[in-house]
């Protein structure tokens, strides 16, 4: 059986997708998969996924398009200068709400759903105990079924993996 090892280090809604999409797909293809959540990646295994947000601030790669209205309106890329984005309270929350609507419109799964599919497919979740403590989290903040380990435990699996991704 092929093995995929993923290190998930990012804690935003957009960066939550690559680890869960790749892990669930690899599991469907018959891979044995482990994800090691560390630093901001710990946000991806919190019970409440509403902590995951997306910020267009300082992210020139992110199109700002509206998920509603007629087609011509949806096609507009709202080029809002960083200085304005940074000064509007709740801009991140607004951008996150728009992104979630876009996700739903496109038939893309929610993070909670993808995560559940990973667990159903027996993807193993490891969380970095050091960063759990560093950021002041409790194990009760996270979903069940996680092993709290250190880097050495990750290498036990990663060292024998066919593919190892740092996301």
């Amino acid at each position: 059986m092929k093995k995929l090892a993923i290190i998930a280090t990012k804690g935003t809604l957009d960066w939550a997708y690559p680890p869960y999409i790749l892990a669930s797909t690899a599991a469907a293809l018959g891979y044995e998969v482990q994800i090691f959540f560390t630093f901001y990646g710990l946000q991806l295994v919190r019970k409440d996924t509403s902590c995951l947000k997306v910020s267009p601030l300082g992210n020139p790669g992110m199109p700002m398009k509206m998920p509603f209205g007629p087609k011509w309106f949806r096609g507009i890329n709202w080029n809002i200068p960083n200085i304005i984005q940074a000064n509007i309270p709740g801009f991140e929350t607004l951008a996150t709400a728009l992104m979630k609507q876009t996700i739903a419109n496109n038939g893309v799964a929610t993070i909670a759903d993808l995560r559940e599919m990973c667990q159903e497919a027996e993807v193993k979740f490891l969380a970095c105990q050091m960063t759990v403590e560093l950021f002041g989290f409790e194990h009760s903040d996270f979903i069940d079924g996680i092993d709290y380990v250190g880097a050495a435990s990750f290498f036990e699996f990663a060292g024998e993996s066919d593919i190892c991704l740092y996301i």
Partner: protein, 75 residues
Amino acid sequence: MNFDKELDASGLNCPLPILRTKKALAELTAGQVLKVIATDPGSVKDMQAFAKQTGNELLSSTQEGGKYQFFMKKK
């Protein structure tokens, strides 16, 4: 073509059609055929790749009116 189970993955995007296909195949026995309907254009190549890597046989892959239709025989 005859089939034993049908899966409608219309409106779903990557990687859901593949994940649902995997799940639906798990409910069949070896040699049975699953029919999958999808609207994701990426699913055409993905179904081929899925079949190749899992050993299930993709019997046919067709397109009709914006919908893709696959017949997959379980290994």
